[in-house]
Symmetry: C2
Subunit: 450 residues, 2 copies
Amino acid sequence: MTDQIRFVLPESDMPTHWYNIVPDFPTPPPPPLHPGTHQPVGPDDLAPLFPPELIAQEVTSERFVEIPEPVRDVYRQYRPSPLVRARRWEQRLGTSARIYYKYEGVSPAGSHKTNTSVPQVYYNAIHGITRLTTETGAGQWGTALAYACSLFGLECEVWQVGASFDTKPQRRTLIEVFGGKVHRSPSRLTEFGRSLPEDHTGSLGIAISEAVEVAAQDETIKYALGSVLNHVLLHQTIIGEEALKQLALAGEDGADLVIGCAGGGSNFAGLTFPFLREKLAGHQSPRILAVEPASCPTLTRGEYRYDFGDTGGMTPLMKMYTLGHDFVPSPIHAGGLRYHAMAPLVSHAVHEGLIEATALHQSECFDSAIEFARTEGIVPAPESSHALAQARRAALEAAENGTEPVIVVGLSGHGLLELGAYDSYLNGRLEDDPLSDEDLQAALANVPVI
Amino acid sequence: MTDQIRFVLPESDMPTHWYNIVPDFPTPPPPPLHPGTHQPVGPDDLAPLFPPELIAQEVTSERFVEIPEPVRDVYRQYRPSPLVRARRWEQRLGTSARIYYKYEGVSPAGSHKTNTSVPQVYYNAIHGITRLTTETGAGQWGTALAYACSLFGLECEVWQVGASFDTKPQRRTLIEVFGGKVHRSPSRLTEFGRSLPEDHTGSLGIAISEAVEVAAQDETIKYALGSVLNHVLLHQTIIGEEALKQLALAGEDGADLVIGCAGGGSNFAGLTFPFLREKLAGHQSPRILAVEPASCPTLTRGEYRYDFGDTGGMTPLMKMYTLGHDFVPSPIHAGGLRYHAMAPLVSHAVHEGLIEATALHQSECFDSAIEFARTEGIVPAPESSHALAQARRAALEAAENGTEPVIVVGLSGHGLLELGAYDSYLNGRLEDDPLSDEDLQAALANVPVI
């Protein structure tokens, strides 16, 4: 075993293809349905919002999709991202496990989101689109899209959830540094926004409605989404493809446990689907584990049913684990994990028993994150801290049992713009707020019956 | 010429020695003097504040000092730091120059400061020191020291300049995440602090006095400094040593222009002294250029004289370019460049004509920084933006003249905790405030006559 710490692939070894898991599933995932007709959605239904290549990727049955050269050319400004052996954290934990973290915080947006914002903007750019609209909650996605737009010369317009806009001015400034324009949502710029009071604190659902409304008005404007859909998950698989190569560089035969946090599912799928392919092919046999917050336990307490992707009920119906499309989770700090449902492909994998899921309280996650920062020198995003907390549990279990598992954990981003959350934790102002049975049943009651 | 972008040395190629420029200077630099006797300072004078290894490094005549294994073991958690070809920025500038930036923002503290905090803490740790005190202004140094202390099990106590403490809560939180304790300076914990009103906005000079007072009280407590002194500059030379190797990897024979921002001088010296060695040996012939803010123009408008390192006049007298030890620069956002003087070794190199200096206004620097962010995807620290602005000038000049210089620019850190400054710039609230002749003469009047 090498004593190397960081496994940095050379640029020339960066993967040239994204991986599409659909054809490798033992059973095909259920199709999305039109919200009116309940018939499977066709490419034409998506054409007003997305360029043809993204629609094709949404339904492709190819196992590998080539990454266009101009996209690879941006990727290599920060990729391959490092896979790091967490030696100091292992020592602090006294574990016999070998822990590797795949770190996406090196990207311009500080998270994995750039992996999909860059191809999304590229495909729009080659069709002459001049402006993209989107929503952002925690702000990572808006940042990633603004950066990608600045590279390809598109305007970027971001509707930021009002409460987030008011309390996180740094995130707005970062989007502006990258040339994006930020509106507090609900804004006065859309019909839907104007239908709400100006001082409304907003929601992701409202912000989506505003961004979609503007995109639908003009052929040169389109809309971009940062998670959930198949093409977004596809773009993120470069994470896992790199990790497989890097693990081999580290001298490991494979992983025993692969852990990622899961909100909409794109970061999780990006890291784990390539490992799942290897598992389905019998090349290695890792447990694959999604970690979600106890206050938004989509996979562990939701139902696997057709539901809307947005609160307003305008999107296609997708078969997925859901807490109900009008579920509003408690305001935990991991804003990226506060989505009411889970990407259809991740949901399918869980339903088929290929992937497991668990839910954790945020205080345990922050505790792990601080221990990680004090040993590995990286302040994790609150989202990523969920994966770290689960890795710690597994590492302590290994210490007790004297086993030596190889644990791969996804560190989806840094938390340097979320230090307010750390301040709350360090000063005892953080509360755990698990979902009650009553609230769960009330939210599920509104899932449409298909 | 390779089309590679990032030149990432393998861990095994990380330099094993720091470089000491003193024996290579054509003439020896003048010694520091005791503030009372005006005689050269001896090791005994420094013993109450620093451990023996650091005192030895302060006066060593060895050209190379071995980096202890436990320090290298921490370095490789984030080093070798990347040298990156700024291809997109070059395109945006339309320049024929080849621009490479050496990026220190990948460190746990987000700046080059960790390069010296780690060895400083290590040398204290092996002598049984249990606590270190320090001051911090902008906050990078306090962060770096807190991180290093967390690794070696020392307590870290940081006196943060009151105005900075009040307006930058994120920086304080980051220090706390790394386990450090932050006091607003002036504090009630020291005699000197109590002599001032509690709501005083503070200064670096006051914070230094408080940190030194606490360290002097107890044999198990020592003090740590983040710039100016020879041993600090020594530790930073790993930056330039790596850059030399990486430039060779990139297929370049050498640099034509090496640019760094200069506040206390440690980042600048760390990048440029190894290049200066190669220049003095006749192996390459780069111009070496220090960039400082027009509001604190130490090298360009200060005088080369013996002066104190602190405002209170408690440190040894050092021969350096100075604006006067009680000079208070205007509150520009690059807090790390607001020091009244310049490291004696950098000052000596400038005085001997080995290095040049120039001064820029901060608005030009922020303009360059935003252009850089929109192409290279990194938000630079306001300090680093001074080096970028000067690199842009050189790149545009090259475009005009049709020359193809190789420009190496030091990017000492990221600006993710300084987004408030970017917000000011983007929204027209930023003012340039060059130093007036009257203020300069008034400050210089208080430099002691030796």
